[in-house]
Symmetry: C2
Subunit: 323 residues, 2 copies
């Protein structure tokens, strides 16, 4: 079994996790994949604990993610949401009826004292997901964004206000006191390869790396660590990563993200995967001390997801470990 760890946020992370899951299964039978997922954009909604990134990864791996909508479950209905609206509840976060069951069940189990990591394993197992899904932490961590409209909760900014407010500062509240979820450090130590998914480096990957102990575990791990660029041809594959980088005065390019990782997390990465459209910048990234994979990084189908994952696996597993 080839043990691989992926660090993932929402949709971009889910796509690569899906590709890795299927590629590993095809390579060696049982998939040895562990996905460590950002929970800093979790939220409480109608008293329910919603974990958008965990759910996106879980639904995607279970083959239940809605492709057209780009989020949530397939064959979803909206009866409860319409009633909640009638009751005067805020409904800017669209909870489908099937999705609602996930949050109801998660919240009930958490209220019984079961840690998020255990609840996550229960939910994923019930949906037939073999891959190990781990929240980055069982502790409460929340991303807050400073904008012209003041400090906003992440989902408030992301969903309710549709990312229109210019972000000038990012705070990952509670992260200093958080601990890695059980299994996180062990999975990293046992991995043959660690893949940082093409998720938003500032609000999806950064919280994971900010949990005390996770970055240290990655630095001590014997496995090479590679990242896949979330920026292709100067634009985010999905979401507001490109605008966010720009607002914060960072370079909006694959090379810019590589530089961000190298500067903020010295010695963390061994390699960086970019799309063919950015091939010309490979030399700049290599000059940062990283090996570079040039591949098709735009994942618009199961096949392209698996092909990218396979390319990253073959390349990453053969990389020498940083000195």
């Amino acid at each position: 079994m080839t043990r691989v760890v992926a660090l993932a946020g929402g949709v971009g992370g889910a796509k690569v996790a899906f590709g890795l899951d299927r590629a590993l299964a095809a390579m060696g039978g049982a998939a040895g994949l562990t996905v460590i997922v950002n929970t800093a954009d979790d939220l409480e909604l109608h008293g329910l604990h919603v974990s958008p990134d965990l759910d996106t990864v879980m639904y995607t791996l279970a083959g239940l993610a809605d492709r057209e909508r780009g989020w949530g479950l397939t064959a979803e209905t909206w009866q409860a949401l319409r009633m909640l609206e009638r009751y005067g509840a805020e409904t800017w976060f669209k909870l489908g009826d099937r999705d609602l069951a996930t949050h109801v069940r998660r919240t009930a189990r958490l209220a019984e004292g079961v840690p998020l990591s255990v609840v996550t394993a229960e939910l994923a197992s019930a949906l037939g997901v073999d891959t190990t899904l781990l929240p980055m932490s069982d502790d409460r961590v929340r991303t807050r964004l400073r904008t012209e409209a003041g400090w906003l909760d992440f989902q408030d900014w992301f969903v309710r206000r549709r990312q229109v407010d210019r972000v000038t500062e990012i705070s990952i509240e509670g992260v200093e006191a958080s601990r890695p979820a059980p299994g996180v450090r062990k999975a990293i130590a046992a991995a043959a390869l660690v893949v940082v998914c093409p998720s938003n480096p500032l609000v999806s990957v950064a919280p994971i790396l900010a949990v005390p102990g996770i970055r240290e575990a990655l630095l001590e791990a014997p496995a090479p660590v590679v990242a896949v660029s979330p920026i292709v041809a100067g634009r985010a594959l999905r979401g507001p990563a490109d605008r966010m980088l720009g607002w914060l005065g960072l370079e909006v390019s694959a090379a810019g993200v590589a530089q961000l990782y190298v500067e903020r997390y010295p010695r963390l990465l061994d390699g960086f995967a970019i799309d063919r459209q950015d091939e010309a910048t490979a030399g700049r990234i290599e000059a940062l001390g990283l090996r570079v994979l040039v591949a098709d990084a735009v994942m618009d189908s199961d096949e392209t997801r698996i092909a990218l994952a396979r390319a990253v696996l073959e390349w990453g597993l053969s990389l020498p470990r940083r000195a």
Copy 2:
């Protein structure tokens, strides 16, 4: 405005409340109806606060109750329930998607510290219900049933075990320490008539009358108090009241219920309404000191509900108050 108070459990209570609501609206414009509802068969399900009787009355008054099924909301779907089942949750209590929104909203508001009576008013108002809906108490009260299988929670016995276990004792836990919900005593004091709905006298009406202060308020009220028999021709109009009466050695008849009320709650009732099928027993009930109304008490349509309510109103409002 004719002020009327109804004491109600679930379906039987909801039907009479519906009839009273519509009959009063037709009589005098604005309906002066207050329905005081049993909450001793509330339950916590998936961490959600479910109030079956309150919801049945609310949905019925809002014209949203499902008639064929006999419980829950019309145009209901079951997507969330199927997912909850997939997650291994217990699904013996059938929560529809629209209904689920009610419980999610109620639970969220309660968690914010809003009392059940206020939440109930919010929900009912949102559904366009003009009638004042009051839980009997904002405090936690729970009916427990002693059976051959041991002590069971009411809904566990009623729904999950389908009322197969012979009930030998009824305990209304927490009721001694409970207080009437705000508005309950005032509504009773201001009423021109109090109607005890044809709900189960042992597990729907008894908990309301056991809340310290409610029975006293009824005894002190200037208004006549009348009950509608839940037993017609020796059978319960709906639910297990007939079997339950029998198990406890009580007479399963309209006159038996009248006697039960007179013995357990001396001086409470002034009148008792029975179905035409039980007309022969009117003399026995009068001998208990009660005035008797003989009417069509089987409510199988909106028209029959309103007709019964109108008959009860005309008769009840003209009754002399007990000495």
